[in-house]
Amino acid sequence: MSAAQIRLSHICKFFSLGEVEVRALDDLSLEIDRGEFVAIMGSSGSGKSTMMNILGCLDTPTSGGYHFDGIAVETLNRRQLADLRNTKIGFVFQGFNLLPRTTALENVGLPLLYDRHRAVADPQARSIEALQRVGLGDRLDHEPNQLSGGQQQRVAIARALVTDPPIILADEPTGNLDSHTTLEVMALFQELNREGLTLVVVTHETEVAEYAGRLIELRDGMLLRDEVNPQPRDAQADLLELQTEKSDALA
């Protein structure tokens, strides 16, 4: 068995829309190693979100095998899948998916509530730490409708980080964000990646993909391109540059 953290072999996912059968993923095989920063690209309908949901154990493939950390995911029951999602995977949704009428702190603490294996001594402190990490230390008691899109996304990222998972999967994390916030999120991702986290980010924006170390492009549920980005851009540097430009413009 290889050391790959994620190994998809001949994954297929079909949806039937009435008479028409949609092949969202068609015999897809790929591996992602520990510590990689992978950007998955593709036009809408290319199957990238479907792949992401399967990677995050939120959805099951029609056929094919998925190994996560050497574990055959298709052999796990619903309970074991839940525990896997809880402890090993941080998932960031495109639509944030925060609980309404619930403070940022409680939203971030939600995964810890269901963590029965590694009883966290102080979930509250852990959640605050995660929120500070994404720069929202001063928004603990805000509810989602009191936060901007970028802030909501950062709460969602904090929620993905709070259980300290080895991998973060983000589905269009910057889809609803302005360029400045996008850079902030990418800078955060790069920093996490440098600390050893595996990152898989789905995006349709080429400039976002340029920050990743590996580029995968899907089309019609099949692998179109899989190449290493020899020189990823540095989001922190770009962020500084953007700020300098802004202050220059003001001056």
Binding site: L99, L113, Y114
Partner: protein
């Protein structure tokens, strides 16, 4: 996940969605309260009716003389003067199934007290007549066995008579004349009101049986015998015994017909039973409809919140909640809401029943069984419709639950 954590999650979720929680509880509250109010008032009126029937007399048996027929012409009930004080004495001596026996001798005439006079019925009865008929005294006392034996000239007045003859004074101790025989008033009966036939039951004077028999009547025949069976279950046995004793006293041949008639309250009781039966049916249907309406209310609000809750379940599943965690949370939530709503419903139902009962002059009787059934039913509806959709959602793939519209 530990239970106290789950309960905390459920409580937080209830507090977070105050409007939804309130509406859910409102359904349960209205369902429980309306059923409890309806049934309490209904059972109250049922008890009132039963009380009225019971006030007619305790297991009352009435013996009347039979009819005379000569030459094919029947004289009608009571036309044969067959009952005497000997009959009463025999019943008192030998009857085992009768608790109390009293003769009834009726006389009528003008009664004069001071400057007032009034024409009324005088009834000669035994001292135990009060018990047989469930009568009560308002003032003074009823006469004693000794006064009966002595043919004492004492009288107990019905309320109407007392008001007519002694409008401004306490009649007890006063004197009056019945058909020129002087009597002393020793008591006044409590008001009895109109009978079912519309007669004024208070327009009457009671006097000892022997007094009326010998001083106001012919000294021989009595009009009725009232008797009280030991219990309602032994009415038939009492009737048989009464018949046997009277037949032997009257020395009737085995082939001869009874020269008396025994009547009991079977018919009245049957009517009362029918009335209360109809009432019970009516109540049950009202309670049923109330429960149904309450149940539908709970169902609606529970189902309406499903969309949002399905997304919530998707989120919880996505961050690693086991399906069982989600189910337990929803079960606890539904149970807490149902319990709380049931409790408030009971309290408001009881106070509403009490208030309306006061207003309408009906007594409210709370039946614990009904309260229990109502709370269990509404609770079950609440838990089912809170839990069942959650169960469905918890069994979806997280991504399908998240996408649920």
């Amino acid at each position: 996940m530990r239970w106290h954590k789950l309960i905390l999650v459920a409580l937080k979720s209830i507090a977070r969605n105050k409007m939804r929680s309130l509406l859910t509880m409102l359904g349960i509250i209205i369902g429980v309260a309306s059923v409890i109010t309806m049934v309490a008032l209904g059972e109250g009126s049922q008890a009132d009716i039963e009380g009225q029937v019971a006030s007619l007399g305790t297991n009352l048996l009435m013996v009347r003389p039979g009819s005379v027929s000569s030459g094919g012409v029947s004289g009608g009930a009571g036309s044969r003067p067959s009952l005497t004080m000997d009959d009463v004495a025999r019943l008192e001596k030998y009857a085992t199934q009768l608790r109390w026996v009293s003769a009834e001798i009726r006389a009528s005439g003008q009664v004069i007290a001071g400057s007032n006079n009034w024409s009324t019925t005088i009834k000669g009865v035994a001292p135990n007549y009060l018990s047989i008929r469930n009568y009560e005294m308002e003032n003074g006392s009823f006469f004693t066995a000794r006064e009966s034996k002595m043919r004492a000239k004492v009288a107990v007045l019905g309320k109407t008579v007392a008001d007519e003859l002694f409008p401004d004074q306490d009649p007890v101790g006063a004197r009056l004349r019945i058909r020129n025989v002087p009597f002393k008033v020793i008591g006044v009966m409590a008001e009895k009101g109109q009978s079912a036939m519309g007669n004024d039951q208070d327009d009457i004077i009671f006097a000892p049986d022997n007094t009326v028999l010998y001083r106001l009547s012919n000294g021989k025949t009595i009009h009725d015998i009232s008797a009280s069976a030991i219990s309602s279950e032994t009415m038939d046995a009492a009737k048989e015994e009464l018949t046997a004793l009277l037949r032997s006293e009257h020395r009737l041949a085995a082939t001869a017909e009874d020269d008396f008639v025994i009547r009991d309250q079977t018919e009245i009781v049957a009517i009362a039973t029918r009335v209360t039966g109809t009432l019970t049916l009516l109540l049950s249907s009202i309670a049923g409809v109330s429960l149904l309406v309450g149940g539908i209310g709970i169902m609606n609000i529970m189902l309406v919140s499903v969309t949002e809750r399905t997304r919530e379940i998707g989120i919880r599943l996505a961050v690693g909640a086991r399906p069982l965690d989600v189910l337990a949370q929803f079960l606890i939530e539904a149970a807490i809401l149902s319990l709380l709503g049931g409790l408030i419903g009971i309290l408001s139902g009881l106070s509403a029943a009490w208030g309306v009962g006061k207003l309408l002059g009906v007594s409210a009787v709370v039946n614990p069984t009904v309260v229990l059934i109502t709370v269990l039913f509404t609770g079950a509806v609440g838990v089912f419709f809170g839990f069942y959709p959650a169960r469905k959602a918890a069994n979806l793939n997280p991504i399908d639950a998240l996408r649920y519209e």
